[in-house]
């Protein structure tokens, strides 16, 4: 059992992961990961490189098939279902490395985020919402996405994921390679998005940032969860400070 710090506020469950294992050939990347995200939660996954953070997200969003364990979304079993069917069930995943389409325009990228929706008015409204979050995207909407800066691409990746109106947003390293100021903007918007009712499962190298935002957080080590707790409690923990905050 992982060590638990602090007490978790009880919320109706949105995502439930239990005992998930993932293998890449002979290598076992995840050895029985269990975690949960409640409705309206921001949950952070922190850990060193290669601990299995990205694999966990991929197993949740259907990019990887778990070899064992189950994944439930809003009470429905979605284990091993192909990625493209999960968007319709309320999940959006902004993958590692942003995954924007460089040869498509910014607007086309955003429209692809709403691929499964057909409510034109709603899409237009959401587009405005994204432009409200990140005004620079409006200025660049006709530009090819490949010409954006790293920070703008990250904004685009997050906005594109939000265009499907997800209940749960999976984010993989949104701060990677970005200037501190840009990172701050992005995290401010994430807080706002969460306040509007979107739950977030966040993988982040920058433990300080992640724990500051998260209601609840898990620490992954070599494919297993070793500790969990409220963001504040983990920030205060000596072990976490030594290992992940460089103090």
């Amino acid at each position: 059992m992982p060590e638990t710090l602090g007490t978790r506020e009880v919320k109706p469950p949105l995502l439930g992961v239990s005992g998930v294992e993932v293998r890449y050939g002979a290598i076992q990347a995840l050895r029985g990961v269990s975690l949960s995200v409640g409705q309206g939660d921001v949950v952070a996954l922190i850990g060193a490189n290669g601990a299995g953070k990205t694999s966990t997200l991929r197993a949740v969003s259907g990019m990887l098939k778990p070899t064992a364990g189950t994944v439930q979304l809003a009470g429905q079993d979605i284990t091993g279902q192909p990625a493209h069917t999960l968007v319709g069930k309320g999940m959006a995943h902004a993958p590692e490395g942003r995954g924007i389409f460089p040869n498509l325009t910014v607007l086309e990228n955003l429209e692809l985020g709403a691929y499964l929706r057909s409510d034109k008015a709603g899409i237009a409204q959401d587009l405005e919402r994204m432009y409200g979050f990140f005004p620079v995207l409006r200025e660049r909407q006709a530009q090819l996405a490949g010409t954006l800066s790293g920070g703008e691409q990250q904004m685009l990746a997050i906005s594109r994921a939000l265009m499907s109106r997800p209940k749960l947003l999976l984010l993989d390293e949104p701060s990677l390679g970005l200037a501190p100021q840009v990172t701050q903007t992005i995290f401010r918007i994430l807080r706002e998005v969460n306040a509007q009712g979107v739950s977030i499962l966040l993988v982040e190298q920058n433990a300080h940032l992640a724990l500051g935002l998260a209601h609840w957080a898990y620490v992954l080590e070599t494919g297993a969860i070793v500790m969990e707790g409220t963001g504040q409690a983990l920030l205060a923990s000596d072990d976490v400070r030594k290992a992940y905050l460089g103090e």
Partner: protein, 337 residues
């Protein structure tokens, strides 16, 4: 001058047919990164299905608009189905395997089709001989469009050298002009090809499906994360390419009047070369490369020797690969590690 004009007209007519086939190569390469060697053979099948459809319709329907439309439709449907089958059962199982695996499979399918069609299978069903496979001999494609001159141009003839002119002979006005004939089928073929290309352009760049196609082409894993049904997009791309190939097959048959089982290999290779010249994966590039290649060939035939025609494409290809490996309109893409 007159000769050049005639060559330009021929080259343009030929180029639009190459372009229709080249588009299929480029689209499939776009979504799968696969050189679909069997694509040319799908075109050949399209020509044969058109032949069979015209044959079944009989002489009564030939030359009528509805007859021609029916011939095209049957062939498009058949080839679309063939493209779907090939993708579903030969390429899809190999999608996560090394790329060479699918390439070899494609060569295998090309071989099976082009040599399979050289077999003659004519079983007797209910007392009637039914041809299932046509055999290697060329067949004359029925005239689904009755040939007629669309326009005849009179172009000034080059003045004869002074020592060739016989001063005693009376001047004949007919010698001052050379006739250039543009046939109705050349125009129809050109218009159909242009309409198809325009339609494709709209589809790829102005519709939701086109956006999905381009997304899959860039990264099918990310595309799936956005809810795009990648398998279906790829299957539809194949069917679309095959349908274009079917049209190209019939247009080619109308132009050349003879069809034979190897025509797909020959024309397919050239169309593929055209796609690479234009920048593989690039829709406008395929059209540009095809027209450029056809014009080059036509000029070589006109001013050098027709027997070198088939070497032009590959000579052109090697020059382009040396000078501009990404093709005329292609973008340089960093190798993914």
């Amino acid at each position: 001058m007159a000769g050049l004009l005639q060559h330009l007209i021929n080259g343009l007519a030929e180029g639009t047919i190459y372009a229709l086939v080249a588009l299929g190569y480029t689209m499939v390469y776009g979504v799968l990164k696969l050189i679909n060697f069997a694509h040319g053979d799908v075109m050949m099948v399209g020509a044969y299905v058109g032949y069979a459809a015209a044959f079944v319709l009989g002489d009564g329907a030939l030359g009528s608009l509805w007859g021609a439309v029916l011939v095209f439709l049957v062939s498009i449907l058949f080839c679309g189905l063939l493209g779907w089958l090939v993708e579903r059962f030969a390429y899809r199982p190999l999608r996560e395997k090394p790329r060479l695996t699918a390439l070899i499979t494609a060569i295998g399918i090309s071989f099976t089709l082009s040599y399979g069609f050289q077999l003659k299978v004519q079983p007797e069903i209910a007392g009637k001989k039914v041809t299932l496979l046509p055999g290697a001999d060329p067949r004359t494609f029925p005239e689904i469009i009755t040939p007629a001159e669309w326009v005849t141009l009179h172009v000034p003839a080059p003045a004869p050298a002074p020592d060739e002119v016989d001063p005693a002979a009376p001047h004949d006005a007919a010698d001052d002009f050379v006739e250039i004939i543009i046939w109705n089928w050349q125009v129809i073929s050109f218009v159909i090809a242009l309409a198809l290309m325009g339609g494709l352009q709209v589809l790829v760049f102005r519709t939701k499906f086109g956006r999905a196609m381009r997304a899959v082409s860039h990264d099918h894993r990310v595309a799936a994360l956005l809810g795009i049904p990648v398998d279906r997009v790829i299957a539809l791309t194949f069917m679309l390419g095959s349908a274009l190939a079917a049209c190209a097959g019939i247009l080619y048959a109308i132009k050349d009047t003879l069809i034979q089982p190897m025509l797909g290999v020959q024309l397919g290779l050239k169309a593929f070369v055209a796609a690479v010249i234009g920048g593989i994966g690039n829709v406008q590039g395929a059209v540009l490369g095809a027209v450029a290649l056809a014009l080059c060939e036509e000029l070589v035939v006109g001013y050098a020797s027709s027997s070198w025609r088939d070497a032009v494409a590959f000579g052109f290809l090697i020059v382009v690969l040396l000078l501009r490996p990404q093709g005329l309109l292609g973008r340089v893409q960093a190798e993914k590690v």
